[in-house]
Symmetry: C2
Subunit: 564 residues, 2 copies
């Protein structure tokens, strides 16, 4: 079918010009831009006073962070103008290995948003991680034939790259040999170490938190992914990149974005609006979100309104608000005025989906499983949270195990447990955390980077066990428990990370969790689920809790709970 | 070995900035750009007050047009800063088919200039051509695995593309499916026809002769190769492209360049100098000649001075004259102060080389072979040259066959013959040409686009036969004959197109030919060998001579010599 959009103003991403003209789509492809007339089309749409631009591309996100399966994510993002995303299924791969990657590829078939996949490079992230799988270069190999696989995802193990460790270098070599892209993740790396990291074949990064950091990298050949997620928000600091000579080497990404944020604010369009309201040129922003994103991955036929390009395009009301009136995917209208109009596939309940919903392998836990078998007073290492940051401090303080088994709400010291949940090994790290402000009850979650074991924080062993068993019974998810009562819960049965349900439902459950924690005494401004999601990741300094106990991240070694 | 270039000013092709800094090369790769010190290198070179930029890339040329084999071409071009060229072995493929492509790949191994190859898309160029080979999509297929093959060369058959003819569309599809580039060649195509041509997958062109033509194409997603050859010189008309928003979608190419031109003026550096002397920014020119050229072909690790990039780089005296003081290829110095310092391989005399030197298959010719067997006066079609252009006009005029067999120097009418020389079929087209200004003698040449049959022009049958037999005896080349004497000759025994000798020798032989023709009465300003090289190419309007006689190019049909 031939569809003519006439009288529009096309945003030319090659030149930055605005051209009043017509666009003819022939099936899934743009046939031409120019003086096409009604008689050449089967369907004619007058888009007078509106703008036509390519569909937006999110160059880097983890779909698992949205807690949605790809079809539901499309329902949320496509009306905002996103027609392609590049996902790193790092989280599900840590739980389910190659099956997790296969599932994400399968679950993103036949939806009106192209889901490109980068292969997780660091599963597990560190040798302290007890994840559900270990992915070698050989296991990743078979995915490179898939038409939507574009390369190797963020290489977080930058010390390994700089040192030339064979494991990670094999994965990089394998991707490079095939001409694929290798994504970077090396915050604050600079100078000669950055040179070594780049020279290994890593030509982008999404962890820049200042324009100067980004500019050094652009000068050295990297492309910069300007990230604006729900928690990590670099856009305002990187606004200097939204002009030449930097902009054409930059793209827009969300990395980790929560469903409520997507529903309330939007996706890539929200980033463009934010930049435009800060005075940046909307055409430059659109070029960053389209052609320049495609170029970063060597994608040849998306990201422009030009002959032979895939007919993924948007009709925008104006360039001030960058709101999509219509979204075309493969030449068909799939969203209009903020709502999806295309039919989405339903996820089958069998096959890989069934396997993904059976990833919680741990016995029922008891209050004793959350009890430290010490007595009297001992100096202990306590993981101390730093407000607004993912890093933790090591606090060494005296713990009286004879009072509440060491939990001490007067000093804001709660208990923290990480239970291995992939293979029912019974491995568990149990200790103390300070800074949650919790006065009673417990919380539990299966979203716990990067291994996604079962993490439980609380001040009462009975509540900790109830919270843990509640998540266990859901096959994954989050819960808040107080005095033997489950206050609220959010099931995430798909790998313990995602729901098969609707974005609005999960957003509202998530909001309930956020509110419920205050009934445990947690003060405003503290987000305990966001916090606990990172206390088990021993690549972030300084003291972290794993399934095998505390890890001193700086020294990269296990340490005892007690000191001396 | 680690080589440090210190105190230079690096031309940053990503940002356009100039940075005073040091560059460390480690073996064939650039290790880093920054504060590297003497102690980190095995060799230190102080390049104070000089500029460091990437090696230049010629994005499109036919090596056969230089008449040199690749090693000798490297000897000429590398000192001018060229470290990579993209060649289309269209000419040799028309003579030798797949063997010709194999030969060019083999002959360009182990030279300090990377020779990338685009596969000839139009062999033969038209159904009227009687070339040495016919190349199908299936035959091209096997070359796509070669690491230096980058795609499908200039698709000249644009009517075929617009009409969707299966033969050419198969070749394009095959290249696109593998993610390869398809080069364009569609002069003056515009509007909807251009849309159709581009949509077939053709995203560059080197035939633009005006900035407006180029701008339309850039807006539609094509990259523009700004061409400056020996004959076709578009640079001055395309100077408006040497700034944004156009420049980053443009690259520099020579297409067809003669050895004397290369020796006397240079290569890509000459284009940059010409543009700079016309007021263009040298940094923009250098970006066009490096990174943006590499990007056009999806080449990932050449074209920039950055970590991990191949250490192909130049030390320039200044940015006004853009003269290379030193040329580094794979981290080794290969040319200095305009002269090659690297050792070049000598071409073996056996194997493919032997086959390439045995392509002339035609019997010895006699004066009778150049005699038209008509008598009396007849109206005939005469190919009329148009000064300074490749097009010809059809002149219908009365020819008196009883006087000099129709040749008439009083009206500047000579005879023209095209003899099939690949398979000794005896096919021959014989007729008249006007505009050479030849008063006596004959010339003959085996450089005759695109089939490279034996072309002979003259006013005396005995001289025509001698000229033809002289070229035949050389196994290819050019000659000038007068009154039974060979005045000069230039042997081109490699496929009848190239010499295994030195650039200086062939340049001087070529110059002799240019001068000698004046002894036949050819006036200054007429280049008969350049002219005859195109009178047998029935894709250029209006009347051309082939091995099977005259062709009316506009009507795309054979026509008789006589009219009525």
């Amino acid at each position: 079918m031939k569809v003519l959009l006439k009288n529009g103003t096309v945003v030319n991403v090659f030149t930055g010009e605005l051209e009043k003209t017509n666009v003819l789509m022939d099936g899934s492809v743009i046939a031409g831009v120019g003086e096409y007339t009604d008689s050449e089309a089967d369907v004619v749409r007058d888009v007078k006073d509106k703008y036509i631009c390519p569909g937006f591309i999110d160059g880097h996100l983890h779909i698992e962070s949205t807690m949605l399966l790809p079809p539901e994510l499309a329902r949320v993002c496509v009306p905002h103008g996103t027609t392609a995303v590049v996902t790193d299924p790092h989280e599900i791969a840590n739980v389910c290995g190659v099956k997790g990657i296969e599932f994400m590829l399968e679950a993103s078939e036949n939806i009106p948003m192209t889901v490109y996949v980068m292969l997780p490079s660091c599963v597990p992230a560190t040798r302290f991680d007890e994840s559900g799988a270990v992915l070698t270069a050989a296991e990743l190999e078979k995915f490179y034939g898939h038409p939507r696989v574009l390369g190797l995802a963020e290489v977080m193990n930058y010390p390994g790259v700089i040192a030339g460790e064979p494991g990670i270098m094999d994965k990089i070599r394998s991707a490079r040999e095939k001409g694929f892209t290798v994504n970077g993740h090396a915050p604050l790396l600079s100078g000669k170490d950055l040179d070594r990291y780049i020279a290994a074949g890593i030509y982008d990064d999404h962890e820049c938190s200042s324009a100067d950091e980004a500019k050094e990298r652009i000068r050295k050949g990297q492309r910069i992914m300007v990230r604006q997620g729900t928690a990590a928000r670099n856009l305002s600091d990187l606004l200097p990149l939204f002009e030449e000579p930097w902009a054409h080497r930059c793209l827009l990404v969300t990395d980790d974005k929560h469903p409520a944020d997507l529903l309330n604010n939007g996706h890539i369009d929200d980033m463009i609006r934010t930049a435009v309201s800060a005075g940046r040129d909307p055409v430059t922003c659109i070029r960053m979100a389209t052609l320049w994103a495609a170029e970063a991955f060597g994608l040849k036929r998306i990201g422009a309104v030009a002959p032979g390009y895939t007919a993924d395009l948007l009709v925008l009301h104006d360039l001030e608000h960058v709101v999509a009136a219509q979204v075309y995917k493969n030449g068909e209208i799939v969203a209009e005025n903020g709502a999806m109009t295309a039919k989405l596939p339903t996820m089958p309940g069998n096959g890989l989906m069934k396997e993904m919903c059976n990833t919680f392998h741990i016995r029922e836990l008891t209050p004793d499983d959350f009890t430290l078998h010490y007595s009297g007073k001992k100096n202990c290492r306590v993981m101390k949270l730093v407000k607004g940051q993912l890093i933790t401090e090591e606090l060494i303080t005296e713990i009286d195990f004879d009072k509440d088994n060491g939990a001490d709400i007067s000093r804001d010291i709660a208990k923290i447990a990480v239970w291995e949940r992939h293979r029912n090994t019974g491995h568990c790290g149990l200790g103390f955390i300070s800074g949650l402000g919790m006065k009673t009850g417990a919380i539990a979650s299966s979203v716990s980077h990067d291994s996604h074991n079962l993490i439980v924080a609380g001040v009462k062993e009975t509540d900790m066990a109830l919270a843990a068993n509640t998540v266990r019974a859901m096959g994954g998810g989050c819960t808040v428990v107080k005095d033997g009562e489950v206050l609220c819960k959010m099931p995430l049965p798909v790998a313990g990370l995602m729901t098969a349900g609707a974005a609005a439902d999960i957003a509202s459950q998530n909001e309930s969790l956020r509110k419920c924690v205050h009934r445990l005494g947690v003060p405003e401004g503290v987000e305990p689920f966001m916090t606990t999601a990172f206390v088990s990741l021993p690549v972030i300094p300084h003291l972290k809790m794993t399934t095998c106990g505390l890890v001193d991240v700086d020294a990269q070694k296990r340490v005892d709970l007690t000191v001396g």
